[in-house]
Amino acid sequence: MSLQVFAQSLIFGIFVGGLYGLAAVGLSLVFGVMKMLNVAHGELLMLGGYVTFWFFSLYHIDPFLSLLPSAFVLFLIGMGLYKGLFSPLAKLHEEVKIKNSLLIGFGLSLVFHNLAIRLWTADERSVTVFYSGWGFSLFGLRFPIIRLAGLVLATIVILALQQFLTKTYFGKAIRATTENWESAALMGINIEKTSMISFALGATLAAMAGTIVSVGYAIHPAMGLEWTLKALIVVVLAGLGNIGGAFVAGVLLGAVESVSTLFVGPYMEVVGLVIFLLVLELRPQGLFGKRIGEGG
């Protein structure tokens, strides 16, 4: 195998890895605040992709322009889902809560999966714009413009999210709730509202990833589980609640998967899962996770 083939796989892996990171950040945010695992996260990503697809095929709106409107639609859907389904769980005991959230998540993913088949058929769809084929070559390596733009966009969104979480009062409230919700409530933070916004933000981030997938790759009704899994692997790799780490871990997973196709072909999915198990076994706090006790 030539070095060039290796480098090209690596680059494509990094492109898709940025999206893994973006998907993971949303999942991590929701889990951190609510201590609920939303296994329908991948379906929200899929919905985001289809909303963008609709904006494009019905109204001819460029996917990079409809990124924000699609994200907003998913923000509203996220708020609705939280209010209607997840909020009643919030008061339950931790263990019962996580089990119930899993049931609701699996139910939702089935519903969305079938809804998508009904609305858009089981075919693969993709948004093809006039600049879809554009790209450039550097040192004999190919850089498709859309995938590159996707990576840049994912980076910008994650940096913006990090600023929001560290610089604004509401962002700090989200982090405080993640660390210790009882104390957060004692500060005067409205936990219910914080959870709702966090859930909606998680859906928004999924929608943004979905939009980029719909234009740089392809979307189909069954893609949800696959993306939930990727996001979950990345979250475990990075350590819970680590936003910057999730992005890096996403890129890492994308790169490793992509390069491993050269060696193990279609079994590249397994590589990600093996890494997942190894990290759980050897470094359960995640690759970049810190262990900070309360001391004393």
């Binding site: 700090k172 004692l186 900070i292 001391g295």
Partner: protein, 237 residues
């Protein structure tokens, strides 16, 4: 200022508080003493709204608190320095303090209160960029108290403020509590060190098995035979 009227609280089937009644007048220091598991922490958590009573009433400045959610109670002026400090360990000292001023009231005079807290605990200013989890036990307690003050409370609840501290540091903390009280804040205190608690407080209530079994002036309590034998470890003279 604070009236607790026969509240009953349970964890599932297990009842923890039975008809607990007591009150704290403005600018008083009131202590709740009693053995571990007697229901003292449960009482404080019920006052803040973290737990709900199934019977009885809590009134703060004359207003019934039954339907007031936790975050609104902070806004009204109730603040808790929780057991084990309950800091946000991964966030900086300054962020912890800022979160203390999360309410509209706290935010409106944040800078001013921050200066007061730094004056009370200068070490926090030096450490403001450091993650709260990396502080020593004493510094963490100072941060927890400082954070509790940031919401400009009228009533400050302390759950074991000397927990895990050396006698010397405990003394420092108690001087600060006294100082806070002198600035006009009503204090309700749980403390394992019964002698310190009784020396500091105006009045005290003894909680045993989820019930108030004794109450009175703390000076009289210091001489009470039951208290001396059960909590102070000295025979009455």
């Amino acid at each position: 200022m604070l009236e607790i009227d026969r509240i009953n609280v349970s964890y599932g089937d297990l009842q923890a508080l039975w008809d607990i009644s007591f009150k704290a007048e403005e600018k008083e220091i009131v202590a709740l003493i009693g053995p571990n598991g007697a229901g003292k922490t449960t009482t404080l958590k019920t006052i803040t709204g973290l737990l709900r009573s199934f019977a009885g009433e809590i009134r703060f400045e004359g207003q019934a608190m039954e339907k007031v959610p936790i975050h609104k109670r902070v806004e009204m002026g109730i603040s808790l320095v929780p057991e084990g400090r309950g800091l946000f360990p991964g966030m900086s000292v300054l962020e912890n303090l800022e979160l203390g001023a999360f309410t509209a009231k706290g935010r409106s005079c944040k800078e001013e209160t921050l200066e007061q807290v730094y004056e009370l605990f200068p070490i926090l200013k030096n450490r403001k960029k450091q993650a709260a989890g990396t502080l020593s036990g004493g510094e963490q307690q100072m941060l927890a108290i400082g954070r509790g003050l940031m919401s400009k409370p009228k009533l400050l609840l302390f759950d074991e403020p000397s927990w895990g501290l050396s006698p010397l540091l405990s003394k420092v903390i108690y001087e600060v509590i006294n100082q806070i009280n002198h600035s006009g804040v009503t204090i309700l205190l749980i403390e394992q060190n019964v002698r310190i608690a009784l020396e500091l407080a105006n009045r005290a209530y003894v909680v045993e098995n989820g019930r108030i079994v004794k109450q009175g002036d703390s000076r009289n309590m210091l001489n009470d035979q039951h208290i001396r034998e059960a909590y102070l470890g000295t025979e009455s003279v």
